[in-house]
């Protein structure tokens, strides 16, 4: 197997997080009716990073939750999807709120669709926006698009994008792997 290539190193990674936070502030102002929800597991890492930085930028009371979509996947019996569930932690109502749904990589769009279904079980949001760190273009199988994207990458079918995190993997970086 060829060694993975780094398509986004630690320095640029930090800049991307910063830009995404500034973009959110530009769109949501004081976040009065907004909440941030990370999709387990990669989306939660990203959402936590965004939440921390937004707090530093003067938005300490932005509600933040974690959403697990394992039980909502349409492929859990085809050995493609994850089987092991993670915690869902949404201790606020999403009813009539502007929800920023956060995921690390947008690929086929199926994870996002499952997350939208799961989110509806916590109320009816006024609006749902999608924020992703990596948008794998030209690989969508459903009509899903990101409202906020860190980077866009063009990949081949047998390639795999992996986001690594300082706290889990020892470095903030995005890798492109060939299977």
């Amino acid at each position: 197997m060829p060694s993975p290539s780094i398509i986004h190193d630690s320095a640029r990674f930090g800049l991307t997080i910063e830009r995404l936070c500034r973009h959110l502030i530009e769109e949501h102002g004081d976040f009065a009716n907004t909440c941030l929800i990370g999709i387990q597991t990669g989306g939660v890492q990203l959402a936590e990073r965004l939440h921390q930085r937004l707090q530093q930028l003067g938005h300490p009371s932005l509600p933040y939750g974690k959403l697990d979509i394992t039980f909502y996947r349409d492929d859990f019996r085809t050995a493609k999807g994850p089987l092991t569930p993670h915690e869902t932690e949404i201790d606020f109502l999403v009813e009539d709120k502007r929800v920023i749904l956060v995921d690390d990589v947008l690929y086929s769009g199926r994870t996002t669709v499952s997350a939208l279904t799961a989110l509806n079980h916590y109320g009816r949001p006024a609006q749902v926006e999608l924020l992703v760190l990596v948008d794998r273009r030209f690989r969508r199988t459903l009509p899903i698009r990101a409202d906020y994207r860190g980077i866009s990458v063009d990949t081949l079918h047998d390639e795999y994008v992996e986001v690594q995190w300082q706290e889990l993997d020892g470095a903030d970086q995005i890798l492109l792997k060939r299977s």
């Binding site: 394992t70 039980f71 996947r73 019996r77 915690e87 079980h121």
Partner: protein, 319 residues
């Protein structure tokens, strides 16, 4: 990040046939389902392409409702069957009954049957995932799993080294056997306590302590799992009278009040109040009997979900 795991078995026929990792996986998955059943909308679409037949050849209230609720919470289609109102009364065999139901394209079978081993017989004959909801006096695996889940919650998450005592009618209890296997797999110390007539002669060979002294056993244990006196299974007189049983082997208020430490009180139900346990004890602050019922739905959802995950969809079946 947790790695994706699967059950090592295609059926849940008994705790004896599960690995310790299987038990841990079921209990960990149940924790996430408990969160699901406490949401405003208590339903997930995981099993929307699965049909489950609930076959009850013996009476059941709690287990049948619990399974049915678990199936509905997972969006499965369900077929309910009870022997009392079926063609079994006309002389149909178990295999014919089940094959007829399977011909209706059923994927999973939840069965309670009076004959120990009925589930093993079926598992060797049909292509469906089978869950044992009780077979005679043999096993009742999902009850043991929900008991273990409830105990873990009550004692702080880990049963290793914890002292669990099962009180009462061990001889006729499928719950006792499943509990013993389950708790031992989780590293707990297990003791059984009751009158000699209701404790099997060689139960010590399973690695459990045996005691006939309720007061001493209560003082020893962290959790007391009290079993029902099964009057319907007793064709011989095993105890002189219910009143005498209560006096010598029941968890009475006086006995529990004498304890110098709190003991978690459990009972799989239905309760014979005033026989194996006094009302004041069953309804006390240390009792988690109703939590057991709630946890039962979450644990059964986990079992159904994990077994369904092993069944490939038609789309990915090998040609």
């Amino acid at each position: 990040m947790a790695t994706d795991q699967q059950l090592s078995v295609p059926h849940v026929l008994g705790i004896k046939y599960l690995e310790a990792a299987d038990v841990e996986l079921i209990l960990d998955t149940a924790r996430e389902f408990k969160e699901v059943i406490n949401r405003p909308i208590k339903k997930v679409p995981s099993l929307r392409d699965i049909t489950v037949a609930n076959l009850f050849f013996e009476n059941s209230t709690r287990t049948r409702i619990s399974f049915e609720l678990a199936e509905k919470r997972l969006s499965a289609d369900t077929v309910n069957f009870s022997a009392a109102s079926s063609s079994v009364k006309k002389g149909e065999t178990l295999l014919d009954t089940v094959n007829n139901i399977l011909a209706m394209k059923v994927d999973m079978v939840v069965m309670r049957h009076p004959a120990p081993g009925a589930h093993h017989f079926l598992a060797s004959k049909i292509d469906a995932s089978i869950i044992n909801a009780g077979d005679g006096t043999h096993e009742h695996p999902t009850q043991a799993l929900l008991d273990a889940y409830s105990m873990r919650d009550a004692v702080g998450g880990d049963l290793r080294g914890k002292r669990i005592c099962i009180f009462g009618d061990i001889k006729h209890s499928r719950v006792a056997l499943s509990n013993i296997f389950c708790l031992q797999k989780l590293g707990a110390k297990v003791r059984v306590c009751g009158p000699p007539t209701l404790i099997p002669k060689h139960i010590g060979s399973l690695g459990v302590e045996v005691s006939y002294n309720v007061d001493e056993s209560l003082a020893w244990c962290d959790v007391a799992n009290v079993l029902r006196i099964q009057l319907e299974r007793q064709d011989t007189k095993f105890i002189p009278s219910l009143r005498e049983y209560n006096r010598y082997f029941g968890l009475t208020r006086e006995r529990v009040d004498r304890l110098e430490k709190p003991v978690v009180i459990m009972h799989p139900g239905p309760i014979n109040r005033g026989v194996e346990i006094d009302t004041a004890v069953a309804d006390s602050e240390h009792s988690i009997i109703l939590e057991q019922v709630e946890n039962g739905v979450a644990v059964r959802m986990a079992v159904l979900y994990l077994l369904a995950a092993r069944r490939k969809t038609a789309a990915v079946k090998p040609a």
